[in-house]
């Protein structure tokens, strides 16, 4: 591998890691610790990472077949046709809005922990409005900046965890928490929740700079990102358990701030708050921008009313799509903060991600049958039966997470999202036709 390729690979791995690295992940870890306060969490993260890594091999093969294509929409359309692809694309876009809601909730919690005296819904709404305004101005984080930020973040978070683990018994009088008798029941649901920690690693697939990038660089950047995230979150959990061996009465939705405070008092608190905001920068804006570009592309394709593809010229900013995604995210943020439904929303996002990866693994298998002649610069080395088993595993995880969720509104949110996606994907033509009719009549 030449230096140029190595730099490119680091960029892709950093983008993939940065897209998944978010402060809401720490809120989810805190909730995982409420279910099982022990090292089982690290095992669940490891399982989730392994399954995601195996799915990444299928995603890589698909990305090589359709380089630069907007992922899920193209892959599923080729494998299963327009209707199914459209439905899952809208569910996926809805999931991004849910994650935005959870992320803004976590941001509001950080701001509150720092003593900012505004109500959480206001803080969350302010965050969403700021990001939408930035997007409408066309301000995006350059990929180079994102790479540097991610490297700094991973090093800093891992460094803090190692520092905590190195404190030993002088500060920590007890040993690491033990595994509870409920571990067998808890492991599947914890693994389902841990999938949330890896959401977004696949967003690197449309970003290849050259056709050759899809042979090795893009395919291996995703497993690399998953390994980095596993180390980061795994060490964090172990560090947290090490310095707080028993259930901490002050366990919050921002455990990273708690860890920082225990280690370095106020300095640690501010340091972790600063790192958390940086982590948000690597994923939040890019996630919303990516979703709005996907919505714009679907509208340009003619599957949504034309106004959804409105551009502000000459900067070419898809403002209608940004406003739609922004409005949805704002509702999600208010829902999360007003009703404290962030966990239910995070679990729904994890379920949708499991179903999406399931669909992608199956899409890859199906495309091998219906488009065998298509060039595949990267081929998933796993036997078909193993790939099929991975798909079954994703289905089982999704169902278990849905069924065993203690939060009452998980199923409700999930059903609401699916229904909304069905309505949007089925009725778009009717709406388009009506608008077209009105326009024609005016002319």
């Amino acid at each position: 591998m030449s230096m140029r390729q190595l730099r490119e690979f680091i960029d892709y791995a950093a983008i993939s890691t940065g897209m998944a690295l978010a402060i809401s992940c720490y809120a989810v870890i805190a909730d995982m610790l409420r279910i099982e306060y022990g090292a089982l969490i690290a095992l669940a993260i490891l399982f989730a990472a392994l399954i995601c890594m195996l799915a990444a091999l299928s995603v890589s093969e698909l990305a090589g077949m359709f380089p630069s294509a907007p992922g899920i929409r193209t892959y599923l359309k080729q494998a299963f046709g327009n209707e199914f692809s459209l439905l899952l694309t809208f569910i996926y876009i809805g999931m991004v809005m849910l994650v935005a809601g959870v992320e803004s909730f976590a941001f509001a919690r950080i701001a509150t922990s720092l003593g900012l005296g505004l109500p959480e819904p206001v803080l969350a709404a302010l965050l969403i409005i700021t990001v939408v305004l930035l997007n409408l101005r066309g301000i995006e984080l350059a990929y180079k900046t994102q790479t540097i930020l991610t490297v700094v973040l991973v090093a800093a978070f891992v460094g803090v965890s190692i520092y905590a683990l190195g404190l030993k018994a002088t500060v920590v009088p007890q040993t690491v928490a033990t595994i509870t008798p409920d571990w067998a029941n808890n492991l599947p649901i914890l693994t389902g929740m841990a999938i949330f920690l890896f959401i977004g690693f696949e967003w690197v697939t449309p970003l290849g700079r050259r056709p050759e990038s899809y042979r090795r660089l893009i395919p291996w950047s995703m497993p690399m990102a998953i390994v980095l995230l596993t180390i980061l979150y795994g060490l964090f959990v172990m560090a947290l358990l090490h310095v707080m061996p028993g259930k901490h009465p002050a366990m919050t939705n921002v455990p990273q701030l708690l860890l920082g405070q225990i280690l370095l008092d106020k300095t640690g608190l501010y340091l972790m708050a600063f790192l958390s905001v940086l982590a948000m920068l690597t994923s939040f804006n890019a996630g919303l921008m990516g979703a709005s570009r996907l919505l714009y592309a679907v509208a340009r394709e003619g599957e949504l009313p034309k106004w959804c593809a409105s551009l502000s010229l000459p900067a070419c900013i898809p403002y209608a799509a940004i406003l739609i995604i922004g409005t949805g995210s704002l509702f999600a943020a208010l829902f999360a903060t007003l009703f404290h439904s962030y966990l239910a929303m995070a679990m729904v996002a994890a379920v949708i991600t499991c179903l999406t990866y399931l669909a992608l693994v199956l899409a890859n298998l199906r495309l091998r049958y219906i488009q065998p002649e298509r060039a595949r610069p990267f081929r998933n080395p796993l036997p078909r039966l193993v790939q099929l088993l991975i798909a079954v595993l994703f289905l089982a995880l999704a169902m278990l997470t849905l069924v065993s969720a203690t939060e009452g509104n998980v199923v409700g949110i999930m059903l609401g999202m699916v229904l909304l996606a069905i309505v949007v994907s089925r009725f778009d033509r009717v709406i388009t036709l009506k608008l077209f009719k009105i326009n024609t009549e005016k002319v």
Binding site: F66, P67, T74, Q78, P211, R293, A297, R300, L313
Partner: protein, 116 residues
């Protein structure tokens, strides 16, 4: 001159003749490389001062390069306005190696030029 070359020449001429393109292309100066995936054909043009240059050879060291790659028949349809490039891209028929902003800019050119 083959079909693709002819369509690209016409495309460049049409874009340069359209006054509305000046503001759209302002401040955007990439090298656009067009590659036919089913033949060895490759063409390139630059955007300079809101105008497209004539076809030439590509420069590997150019700091801002966009690569468009597809079968020759797809490229022909895209560059004569018969095929919506956004649809071709979503269908996996047209690969666009560039930033999101580049993709939307190229899409806007086709929208203004042909209304598709």
């Amino acid at each position: 001159m083959n079909n693709l070359q002819h369509n690209l020449h016409k495309f460049i001429g049409d874009v340069n003749d359209m006054p509305r393109m000046r503001s759209l292309l302002k401040g955007w100066e990439p090298q656009v490389v067009i590659q036919a995936s089913d033949s060895e054909e490759q063409y390139s043009f630059n955007v300079n001062d809101s105008y497209l240059s004539e076809l030439g050879t590509s420069n590997d060291e150019y700091p801002h390069t966009i690569i468009l790659r597809a079968r020759q028949d797809i490229l022909n349809k895209v560059f004569c306005g018969e095929l919506n490039p956004a649809r071709a891209h979503l269908d996996g028929e047209l690969d666009v190696f560039g930033s999101d902003k580049d993709e939307v800019k190229l899409d806007a050119i086709s929208l203004i030029l042909w209304g598709i």
